[in-house]
Symmetry: C2
Subunit: 198 residues, 2 copies
Amino acid sequence: MTGNDLDQLIQLFAKLPGLGPRSARRAVLALIKRRETLMAPLIRALQNTAERVKPCGACGNLDTQDPCAICRDPERDRSIICVVEGLGDLWALERSGACRGLYHVLGGTLSALDGVGPDELNIASLLARADPKEGVAEVILGLSATVDGQTTAHYVTERLMGRDIVISRFAHGVPIGGELDYLDDGTLTAALKARRPM
Amino acid sequence: MTGNDLDQLIQLFAKLPGLGPRSARRAVLALIKRRETLMAPLIRALQNTAERVKPCGACGNLDTQDPCAICRDPERDRSIICVVEGLGDLWALERSGACRGLYHVLGGTLSALDGVGPDELNIASLLARADPKEGVAEVILGLSATVDGQTTAHYVTERLMGRDIVISRFAHGVPIGGELDYLDDGTLTAALKARRPM
């Protein structure tokens, strides 16, 4: 239908999550219409990312510098390490501004089905970092409340056991703005059990 | 939150149609995870498009060669020119395989509100091409059934008047798979008026 180059570009865009062939075509049309203001900067930003962004040696976050901006930040509370599954979770927590400590990106969760064992995740580096002598006082497990997430949380807890470190996990409960009517039984039970005085 | 380079990349992705900040983040995460298989080819394809794709001098279609693949194709019926608003419409018609003639991309529609006059569109080149002496027998106006689209259709019809050329437009009617109950009055009236024997 169109030039092969355009077709190829559309097919690549269609591989991105949330984009299908139709939205990929729209995206490519928008890029062609705005060559100077959108396409050229996008090419530069992609090249920059491809060349310069690498994982932080300490926490696994991605940045152009190693250690990353969060690990370098002197304002951060170095006694707290928040363990997350992936970069997306780290970004979500940073957007919320809720975590003032450091992070540790596992790069996934343990999964018997997918054949992901402890060696496939950044667990060894977490065990090396989580040292009370280095001033670490708390490890917060910010993992998904799924089977794999909780398996991983239990595994990490077990491995950290015996160290002079508080190990905590995120609370379960009713999401802000959530209607009870639409919540599952597990969440409701957890929310009721963990009730707090007004 | 993240390195400035990543932030910038996410913001650029979020400017594409159909993508917001959230889906832009997901797209960037997917690109970082698949640097070699997705990010590198995407950069190359974008560069290729930015450098090599240009409008066809005859019809306005985009291709790496001028004239474009459609204008060069010897199988095409050169007596028919299908006039469309933009590249997206041309792609849609090509996907359907319904048009065996050539195209002419206007680059928009006349619009008093947006200050688009005949000089802003590729109308002069259409008038030059639509020449019975060159073998052109029919101009099909494949323009949207909107006020601006129909204004443009009428304008082009007027300008081509007097030449020995059939000027036609797409039929209005019930879309294939469409339910009558959900159609607007205008479409129903048009479909009833243009009824055909079974």
